[in-house]
Assembly symmetry: C2
Homo-oligomer: 342 residues x 2
Amino acid sequence: MPEFRKDPVTGRWVIIATERARRPDAFVPEKRVRQEGFCPFCAGNESHTPEEVLAYRPSNTARNTPGWWLRVVPNKYPALVSNEPVKRSGDGMYDRINGMGVHEVVIETPDHDGHIGEMELHQVEEILWSYRDRSIEMRKDPRLEYVMIFKNHLREAGASLDHPHSQIIAMPIIPKRAQEELDGAQRYYDYKERCVYCDMIAQEYRDKVRVVLESEQFIAFLPYASRFPFECCVLPKEHASFFHDIQKNEVGDFARVLKETMHRLRIALDDPPFNWILHTTPLHEGENPYYHWHMEIIPKLTRPAGFEWGTGFYINPISPEDACLLLQADVEVKAGDSAAAG
Amino acid sequence: MPEFRKDPVTGRWVIIATERARRPDAFVPEKRVRQEGFCPFCAGNESHTPEEVLAYRPSNTARNTPGWWLRVVPNKYPALVSNEPVKRSGDGMYDRINGMGVHEVVIETPDHDGHIGEMELHQVEEILWSYRDRSIEMRKDPRLEYVMIFKNHLREAGASLDHPHSQIIAMPIIPKRAQEELDGAQRYYDYKERCVYCDMIAQEYRDKVRVVLESEQFIAFLPYASRFPFECCVLPKEHASFFHDIQKNEVGDFARVLKETMHRLRIALDDPPFNWILHTTPLHEGENPYYHWHMEIIPKLTRPAGFEWGTGFYINPISPEDACLLLQADVEVKAGDSAAAG
C-alpha cells in the first residue's frame, strides 16, 4: 500500500510507492534492461493495459480494441490507489496519509514513433482534450485536491516506455511546489493588484528577447530566471486560473503553439529528452485573479548536480536570451490552422 | 559576468553563469566527450589549476608543487566571481544581483581513483578540516551570507572530472531550500520548544528501522520521508547549528561514520553516483536552538521524472526501512579509531 509521508522540517510530502519497487539490484544505475520489441501501448495490444477509462475512437469500434486515436488507461504500476478513503495518521513525530489517489496514462497516439513536434495538429489537440476531460472527471471526487499532468519524453527524462504517453496523477493534497506558486502569486497580487503571470507576459511582449513564438491567444517564452537551459513556458495571454476551463476555440491555438515550440526544441537540440508539466489551480478552489495556468517544458540537457539538490536553486550555463535566439526560427504560427478532426 | 536572477513567483534565485557556457551543441545530451588521460587534479599537474588557496602538505614543499595530500583551488570555470561589490538591480518587473561570490574546488586526495568509502580515515578527516577551514575564512567576508559545500561523485551525479573532489560556493544570498529548512525548523521550535532534528534523532534511535549506523557522537539514518532510494542523513547527536564550529574530537568521529556510510552504499549499490550536501546555518546568524547542521547524501539511482520537477515532491519506489536493511551490515564502527595524521 503506497503512502504519503511528510518531511517534518520542510512540510514536503513524498510518496513511498513500494508497489513500484523492483528488486534492490534494479537500483544499480545504468543496468536497466531496455524492453525492446513488444509495446503494450501499440494498437492491437490493448489487452496488455488495464481497461481504458477514456478513448477517442470511431463509434463503430469496441472498447479496448484497435481503431482509437487516443486512449487513457489506469497506470499498471500506480503510485497511488483510488479505492481508499483518505486517512491521516501519526507515526511518533512523523505524519502520513495513505496513498489514495488516481494515476492514469494517456496513450497519445497509436504511432509508436510519434513526436509531439511532428504530429498532425488534430492529434495534439486530442491530447489536450484528454487532459481536460480527465481533469473534469477527477474534480467530481471530493477526496482529490490537485491534478498533476505531466509528460516524460525518453528514458533520460524518466519515461519507462518509448511510446508517446503522458501521465495524470490526482491526489488528496496540494503539492508543495504548486502551493508555493499559488502563495507567491497571491503575495504579488496583494502588493500589486495584478496577476504576476499577466505582468510577465506584458514584459516579455515588450522585451521580445525571450519570446519563442506567439499566436493570437498563446505565448511561449523562456523564463527570466530559467533554472534549466532552454526551459520554456507556454501560457494563455488572457488570465485564466484553470486549464480545464479552456475554451474550445483556444484548444487549437494552444496545440499549435505547443507543437511548434516542441518542434523547434527538437530541431535545435536533436530530439532532447524533456518533461512537461501543466500547472493549474487546485480542483476545489474558485477562479481567482492571481493564479494563471501554464505549461512548463524542461529539456533534460545538463545533469542536475549537487548544487541544485542542496540549495533549491540552480546554475544555468546559458542565458534564456541566448537560448531563445536558437529557437526563434522564421516560422510563424498561422492562425486558422486548426484541424478538422477532434 | 554571471548574475543571480529571481523568479518573480516563487522567489527562487537562479545563477545564470554564462562563463560556464559552451557552444549550444554541447547541450545535446549524451554527446559530451569524456576527457580521458590527462587529469588537472593529479599530483604533478598543479600548474593546470588556478593557484591553491589552501593546501595540506609537508612544510618542506612549495605551494603549487607535488607533496600535498589535499588542495583547495578556485574553480577554473566559476559560477560566481569574487572581485565585485554586491549590486541589486531591477529589470522591469524582474530582480537581479550581480554574480558575486566564491567558487572553489577541494581536491580531496592525490589518488585519482580514490573513493571516500575506501580512503584512509585520516584523509577523510582532512577533507572535513578543509571544509571547516574554508568556511571560517569565507565568514570573514561580510558580503557572503551562505556557504554551500557539496560533492558530485561520477558523471551521472554531475561531476565533470573523475578525480575525487568537492565544491564550495559562498554567495551573498541565502538559498531558498536552506531558508525553507531554517523556517521549518523555527516553526517546529516555536510550537514544541525543541529542535526538530534532535527529535528525529531520538525517534530514529528508538525505532531503529532507519538507522544505518551510529557512533558515540554521530548517527546516520535514512529519513522517514526520503525523496530518493537510499537517501542518507548524517548528524551530530548533540545539537549544533554550525558545521564549522565542530570540535576537534568530533571530526574523527564524523569522518568514521561518513566513511562507513559511503562504504556501505558503495558495496550495496555497486559504486553508485551520488551527491552530498552539507546543510548549515547562514554565516552571520548566531548559534540557535532550532537548526541542526547535517550532511545529506543522495545516491543518483532513479532518474528524476516529471512528477518530481512539477510538484516539488517525489515518488520513491523503496521505503527507507527496506533500503536500510541492505545497509545495516554487521560492521560496527569502532571508537578510538581516529588516525594519527591530520
